[in-house]
């Protein structure tokens, strides 16, 4: 489909390049600001390079500098420890992903490969939960978690999404449906039970979609804000997104700590960017399928 260059094509390429610049520039600006000295920033607002390049902002948000040092570089001096929040985010996202994908795979197996009366109705019921806006169930769920005494605990943050999401079940069921029955029946003739078929046949054969779902779940869980904001305020369970909200509200004397804030956003964003770079092809190719049901 190679066509000769003409004005229209040049204009089209130019718009695509502008688009990519608009997409990438904010990421560069995060880095440029995070490497700057916050007290010097207002003096050189449009310098394209870091102002007085320093790792001070990173030290500040990772809790590696003293209060005096932090304040000298334009920080609030309030104690922040993004290592801790990073650990918390890792725990929440990892446990949520492993549990949710595994239990959803089990359910998808029951919906795709087993035959039982009422199966399609139950599946439709599970899917109908997609229609309910999250805030509607969020309020009673908060009451439940509070009554269970799980506020400010990892269990409280993780539990509501640990067992299933309608989307995860739907997504895996689609793939499980495509596996040929002959293989399964051959395994049964060899004496394999459902457990062996599930672990030894279905899961290995669906490794790719399971990995895709796992990555998407991990990213969503990592980026979630509202629920952990409600149930995980305390430092020991505070995740990165919540910590960033808190950091932003601690404005020091004489203007916000922009360098510190951008260092914090980088700490929060970098693991997802790395994950994305590692699996870019898989994630990108999954979009067409997962978005439209």
């Amino acid at each position: 489909m190679r066509k000769p260059l003409n004005v229209g094509r040049i204009a089209a390429w130019a718009s695509l390049i502008v688009l990519m610049l608009v997409t990438l520039f904010p990421f560069y600006w995060m880095l440029r600001t995070a490497l700057s000295d916050n007290t010097q920033l207002p003096g050189h607002p449009s310098s394209l390079l870091p102002v007085d390049t320093t790792l001070g902002a990173f030290k500040r948000v990772l809790g590696l500098s003293t209060v005096a040092e932090a304040q000298a570089q334009g920080g609030s001096g309030a104690s922040v420890d993004f290592w801790l929040y990073l650990r918390n985010s890792l725990i929440v996202a990892t446990v949520t992903t492993v549990c949710q994908v595994f239990f959803s795979a089990m359910a998808a197996y029951a919906f795709a490969r087993l035959r039982w009366r009422g199966r399609d109705q139950v599946f439709a019921l599970f899917l109908s939960a997609l229609m309910v806006p999250p805030i509607f169930t969020l309020l009673p769920n908060f009451v439940l978690i509070k009554n269970l005494g799980l506020l400010n605990s990892f269990a409280g943050i993780i539990l509501p999404t640990a067992f299933m999401t309608p989307f995860a079940i739907f997504f895996l069921r689609q793939f499980f449906l495509g596996i040929s029955r002959e293989l399964e029946e051959a395994a049964m003739i060899d004496g394999a039970g459902h457990r062996r078929i599930f672990f030894g046949l279905i899961i290995p054969m669906s490794a790719a979609p399971i990995a895709t779902l796992g990555i998407l779940t991990y990213i969503n869980s990592w980026n979630d804000y509202m629920w952990p904001l409600l149930v995980g305020q305390q430092e020991n369970v505070r995740v990165l997104t919540v910590a960033l909200g808190v950091f932003r509200s601690q404005t020091p004397q004489g203007g916000p700590d922009w360098a510190g804030l951008m260092a914090g956003t980088l700490v929060a964003a970098l693991p997802m960017i790395i994950l994305f770079l590692a699996f870019a092809k898989r994630i990108t190719n999954s979009i067409g399928f997962s978005g439209i049901k």
Binding site: V22, M106, Y109, T137, A192, M226, L244, G288, F289, K293
Partner: protein, 313 residues
């Protein structure tokens, strides 16, 4: 001896017998299915079904979390009708959705067309998708910094080209368009990839036929691409619009509803009512109304745009 070792200790004795499976199948796998469904069902009942029912009930009560819910009939709904903050929140949310979805959809179709016509490069697609993988909170804060009135790079640039600096978050008229624009930046690539996937389902022969008939690119886009893309576009619109109504994170970390009430969207208002005023009954009632609005909007879209019919048939 070997036979017993091979056969797992299963509850259904028929497994080892080659003639048995079809017969066993007809009886159904209900027992096994229950085991496989147990964890998901537990989560579904406890964190989806039960809160849905409870939320509906709470909407007819007065509930402050401290005492048990107090049934008060339709009082919450009567209050909602007269609550100017509620109506303001709805108007602000609709304004946000219209700007956000309008701009985003047009840009996404444009980007998808560009990618479709120019390059199949996975790198281009990955770059375009990148903002979508970063948390709302991060995106909001980065733009909050870049759009800062005094030292933000965007206002520096505006000054440089001779435009007065704009108080993007500080002025009522700009708050919602600004927040909508930020989320367009985050979501347009994702939406473009959905449209891109749709473009690839349009058979090549249609374009070839158009070219043979001497159709210009512009004409082909309006008369062929867009109509054939309609089913995909409808689904994209339904999915993105429902998501757009749920705008919260960006507001929560930037304007917090301000200036005055200019960006107090419905999600944020419900959140405030529930978690700063502990007005759970009223908040639940508003959430239920939002639920109804979303259901209605998606139904209308599917109807109006005749989603299921394809022009290709």
């Amino acid at each position: 001896m070997t036979a017993t070792i091979k056969a797992p200790p299963n509850r259904r004795r028929t497994h080892g017998d080659p003639k048995a499976p079809p017969k066993a199948r007809s009886r159904g796998d209900l027992k096994v299915a229950m085991i496989f469904l147990a964890p998901a069902t537990l989560g579904f009942v406890v964190f989806y079904i039960w809160p849905t029912l409870r939320g509906a009930y709470l909407s007819f009560t007065e509930y402050s979390l401290l005492a048990s819910p107090n049934f008060n009939g339709l009082a919450n709904y009567e209050r909602m009708v007269q609550d100017s903050f509620f109506w303001n929140a709805l108007v602000v949310t609709v304004e946000y959705v219209v700007i956000n979805i309008g701009v985003q959809t047009v840009l996404a179709v444009g980007i998808a067309m560009l990618m479709y016509r120019l390059t199949q490069s996975i790198t281009v697609r990955a770059v375009v998708l990148l903002p979508y993988l970063v948390a709302n909170v991060v995106v909001a804060l980065v733009w909050y910094w870049m759009l800062d009135f005094q030292v933000g790079i965007v206002n520096q640039f505006l000054t440089w080209v001779g435009i007065d600096p704009v108080a993007f978050f500080g002025e009522s008229a700009y708050a919602i368009p600004t927040i909508a624009g930020i989320n367009v930046w985050r979501h347009m690539g994702y939406t473009a990839l959905l449209v891109f996937a749709g473009l690839q389902t349009i058979p090549k022969y249609v374009y070839e036929a158009a070219e043979v008939d001497g159709s210009t690119e512009w004409k082909t886009f309006w008369r062929i691409t867009l109509p054939l893309l309609r089913p995909v576009l409808v689904m994209v619109l339904v999915v993105t619009m429902i998501g757009s109504f749920q705008i919260f994170d960006t507001v929560a970390v930037t304007t917090q509803g301000g200036p005055i009430n200019a960006s107090r969207v419905i999600y944020y208002y419900i959140y405030e009512r529930a978690f700063t005023r502990f007005d759970f009954g009223y908040a639940s009632a508003m959430a239920l109304v939002l639920f109804a609005i979303l259901a209605l909007v998606s139904l209308l879209q599917l109807r109006l745009l005749r989603a299921k019919e394809s022009d290709l048939a």
